[in-house]
Symmetry: C2
Subunit: 670 residues, 2 copies
């Protein structure tokens, strides 16, 4: 029997001691034990597959990662699973360690054709793409234009003579720039371009453009395409540039689910053009799970486990060194994040449900709830990517210097997350889109309209003061809900007043909006925090679980609420909704919650049920054997393949030999 | 004449329009025009040197970066400059793009011997090291122990028989882990180890241990050494591990400036043991400049310039697209950081001055001001690394997606900075050390002692209310100083009350400290913000510059103060020092300041006077030519050397040929 390390003993002892129904919480997180079973089944399939089980991401070159991504993309399609099931999709993504190539081909190109193509187009292109007979990308952003779609400069001009479109990126700044899978892989692209017919512009439309030859894989005439170069991470993706110099495509390559051009060049709208942007909402809904919430849960898992096995200093004079998780400052870093990662998960699931409902309405031609969904998905994208990114880095720092090692697992998690705050809609723009909707709601309230949906709290007459008189009162869910509601409502009203007063002073709408933008971003944040908290509450109320598990989820919900309030206390003090004394109680209530959660924090991260392979960490594995794993991993470093590093030694040798002579001389003199 | 791009025209036009004395501000930043001249002279030397001028960091492998670092380290010593001059050292660091190898050898090993060795040891080892005849590292942290020095497990046991020490890392967790230059380069190390004589421990002492043979460069018997593996960045450094299995060193290898062991094994203290830690203070003072403040200034430079040339959307209905710097939300991201980067620079210079004074006192045996210096350097290290890191990422995001490209320059800057929050003292521990000193001062005040130095504001009787009634009042330097002073004082007193009340309830000192730690970290932050603001004020008061420049520096100082207060408004509202109305005025005052600074923000970043080579950016160069540079740089990417990527094509070819057949079949059917 191999020796068990001190670190493993420590974490196993902690597991024995804690009182928490880990498996039940796992089921709750998965959305039912059936989903847990499915997830474990798929995870096992992957971890038993020769190709997919290799998730070792350490010490790989960019090109190794790229090739491997392609290999894994081909392989994953052969699994016997239901690729159309969203739960399965999510499980696959996590269980494969996110290291699957051609993500834009599979995740955007195919769905775009399905959503925006007509029946004929879907039947023609989708099977080709799904079987990798063509590889596609989605080319929207340009070198000089991103989030502002109306500013895009690529054109597709109708040529009635040949029944073609000529697609053109007229300037340097209008080359397509950033699309994933474009640089080296794609031979087709859905290109978003301004449709021009007889000199008149009809707005952005999607066109399928072939860019590379299917026999030689060389760019077609008029096409320049390549990789945009090194990034923070995502080495397994070839984000690309694309210059189109009067490239002609047949008329039937305009995706025509939404609008059509007939042979004479008549433009015909077939459905609401907002459908064109429906895909962006789905992408945002999905990406917050995969690129924000899961990474934060992984970061919490690693940091919490490591904080148990890492010992430093003693709290009692002369006592043994203690786990750093026993320090309140450490708990204050990690537990609010742990609570948030639960809150984010459950609220994100609620958003998914809402998306399904409203999307079904839209398909039936009912658009009245679309603005709410659009505002919510934009806001949640911005809020969750921002918070989860910051949270992951707090977890990393909570692991001290070792968090800076690739072996910690953090670089993998964090560097991908870093991209999430700017892609798929720059976050400030997203917050402002959310705020714009809230301002419209507020105008509605002023004009006597009853608001439905999430911001319906704007209809309510709220109490002027919070009546909490104890820590316990402030931990109460309803008290916290009222605080968050009050804060959001206060900020919305205040921003509205500023807007109205600036408008009265004669400023233009755009000017007013610009001047108020800093406040409006905060408005959106406050609203989203209310939404997340209330979603978490709803989930708990409807939860099929033991009282013990419900209690623990309730504790996390309180901590999320308290932490949010404490971080934004000025808003509640300004409005005098909370007094200075209540503010003090809220701080103490948060600290008290930390010491309760300390007892079962390990169970809360174990419940996420990430496998060691998925976490790819030496310091946060289930067995806690941090130091042995770090040392074993260091020995594998390419630099350690030889004792003597040539890059060093070839340059320094003459100097060192002189050093030897001097030191030996010194010695011989003695 | 080559065409000038739209972007270059835009930035040149902005420069013509602005009214700011850039060169004068550069002189102020440099600390006098002489320093500006020296800096430019050294920068020219480097940029004209065949080896040192190559600062291209894009698309290099780890080993290329490592070898290059060594080559540059050897080369830089040959420059005709005064290496002992601290200004020169700083200039060299920036002007070489921070890409100089063997930084721990030059920056820590040599100074440690100079500080902690006796005269004989300095004369023996320093020339060897400076001439690269030996390469050394400083080995303190262990795999299982970092910031808590007393927990280190490495031992050096005196052997009277042979007049040797036997140095030992007894367990896996006690191997040295992290020291820079250790993995592959160092043949000597200053090893920090518990001195043991006749079974008794005398605390941590420094020992010079040879670890590799000077002829073969192979590890000596009893030594295991290697690289600890991949990190977020710092690929040009071989951070290493070191296992010492009963390695014997001669008695004279204990660095004996502070304490000595005689032939019989008697331990003799020669000076105050706190001198042992003096080196850490100097490292902290220096690193905040080089690893925190300079990077933030660089990030501000890139983001501000790019925000001028990047255009998106229009503010006036139907108007042209505008520079994104015209958006208030963008100004609110960047200008407070720009103000902070000035504030940090000047306050850091004040800390340098204080270090020089107190260090001179210490050399004369006067230790009374050492605790203040220790608290200040620890606190500043934590505060500035934290703020500058966060600031750099805000700048990166302000550049949208392009900030994620290596070509933006941000990955280089940011990934190095990421390490700064945990190395040389984990930040939470550093904040708590600063707070501990402040709590001692507060105890002093309560006991009627008059406090001297920075926290002397604790002696003052302060006003209960701020009397500002306008935006203008709140922009006033003295009002802001009183706010920051009041806040710090309030938090210190509140923490002290909590500590006293917990102590009275019977809790141990350690328990009380742990329970109050979250508040104490905030205490330290508030104190440091007061210190930074007041230092900036002092610098402005003594500044040898025109009224115009003083006015602009004053505006930055106000913005720093206002932004700090707005971010921490709850502290001032809780104490009722500010009213809700005043809070609102403070927000508006900050926003007003942004529109004033907008007019000359470009000049403020130009004044940092970074060369394009040092910035290593495509999007933030002096000429603003962002898009052409991005495209040129993309074309250089290794992946673009061939049109067809083998890693992709070899795997997909059969699928694609089938695609060709299907599509041609489709066509022929038409």
């Amino acid at each position: 029997m191999a020796d068990t390390s001190d670190e493993t003993k420590l974490i196993m002892e902690e597991r024995r001691r804690m009182d928490i129904k880990v498996e039940e919480i796992t089921n709750v997180i998965d959305g039912g034990s059936n989903n847990t079973t499915l997830r474990r089944k798929i995870t096992d399939m992957i971890q038993n597959d020769a190709i997919l089980s290799d998730m070792d991401q350490f010490y790989k070159t960019e090109e190794e990662k790229y090739s491997r991504g392609i290999r894994r993309a081909l392989r994953v399609r052969k699994l016997d699973v239901d690729f159309n099931d969203t739960t399965t999709q999510r499980i696959l993504f996590i269980a494969t360690g996110k290291e699957i190539g051609l993500p834009i081909h599979s995740g955007v190109f195919v769905p775009t054709i399905m959503n925006l193509g007509n029946q004929e187009q879907v039947e023609k292109w989708v099977p080709l793409a799904v079987n990798f007979n063509i590889i596609g990308t989605y080319a929207q952003t340009e070198l000089g234009h991103g989030t502002n779609l109306r500013g895009l400069e690529t054109t597709a001009t109708f040529i009635p003579e040949s029944q073609e479109f000529v697609v053109n990126t007229p300037k340097l700044s209008s080359m397509k720039w950033w699309p994933g899978d474009l640089g080296k892989a794609a031979n087709h692209a859905v290109v978003m371009a301004q449709l021009i017919i007889k000199g008149e512009s009809y707005g952005m439309m999607p066109f399928i453009v072939q860019i590379r030859d299917l026999s030689t894989h060389l760019p077609l005439p008029g096409v320049k395409v390549g990789d945009i170069g090194a990034k923070f991470a995502f080495e397994s993706n070839d984000n690309g540039f694309l210059i189109l110099d009067n490239v002609r495509i047949p008329k039937e390559n305009m995706l025509s689910g939404v609008a059509e051009v007939d042979a004479e060049g008549n433009f015909m709208l077939k459905s609401d053009p907002r459908v064109l942007y429906g895909g962006m909402m789905l992408i945002r809904v999905n990406l917050v799970d995969s690129q924000a919430v899961f990474p934060l849960q992984q970061a919490c898992t690693i940091a919490t486990r490591y904080s148990i096995v890492r010992r430093q200093g003693s709290i009692q004079s002369g006592g043994d060194e203690v786990s750093i998780l026993d320090y309140v400052a450490q708990q204050h870093k990690l537990f609010p994040l742990l609570a948030a990662s639960y809150a984010f998960h459950f609220s994100s699931r609620q958003t998914h449900e809402l998306y399904k409902i409203i999307n079904a309405e839209v398909k039936n031609g009912e658009f009245s709830n679309l603005p709410e969904l659009h505002a919510l998905t934009a806001g949640m994208k911005a809020y969750l990517t921002e918070k989860c990114l910051a949270g992951t880095d707090i977890c990393r720092r909570a692991c001290g210097g070792h968090g800076y090692l690739q072996a910690s697992g953090f670089p993998n998690i964090y560097l991908q997350q870093l991209a999430s705050v700017t892609y798929e809609g720059e976050n400030t723009v997203m917050f402002l889109q959310c705020a714009r909707y809230l301002m419209k709601c507020m105008s509605g309230v002023i004009n006597g309209r009853k608001i439905v949906g999430i911001p319906s709290y704007l209809n309510e007459r709220m109490s002027d003061r919070c009546h909490a008189t104890s820590e316990r009162d402030l931990t109460n869910h309803d008290t916290l809900l009222q605080c968050l509601k009050h804060r959001s409502s206060f900020l919305i009203r205040q921003a509205k007043e500023k807007i109205d007063s600036l408008t009265k002073s004669g400023k233009s709408y755009q000017d007013v909006w610009n001047i108020t933008s800093v406040e409006l971003v905060n408005v959106a944040r406050a609203h989203l925090e209310y939404y997340i908290f209330s979603s978490f509450l709803q989930v708990i109320q409807n939860m099929n679980a033991s009282a013990d598990t419900k209690g623990k989820m309730g504790e996390l919900c309180s901590l999320f609420g308290l932490h949010t309030i404490n971080e934004n206390m000025a808003d509640l003090l300004r409005d005098k909704y909370l007094s200075a004394k209540q503010a003090r109680l809220a701080t103490e209530a948060e600290l008290s919650s930390l010491s309760r959660i300390r007892k079962y924090a390990l169970g809360l991260v174990d419940a996420f049920d990430f496998t060691d392979k998925t976490l790819m960490t030496c310091i946060g594995t289930y067995d806690g054997n941090a130091y042995e794993r770090l040392y074993e991993n260091a020995k594998r470093a390419p630099r350690n393949k030889t004792e003597v590093n040539e890059g060093f030694y070839n340059q320094l040798r003459p100097y060192l030999l002189k050093g030897r002579d001097i030191l030996e001389g010194t010695k011989s003199k003695l």
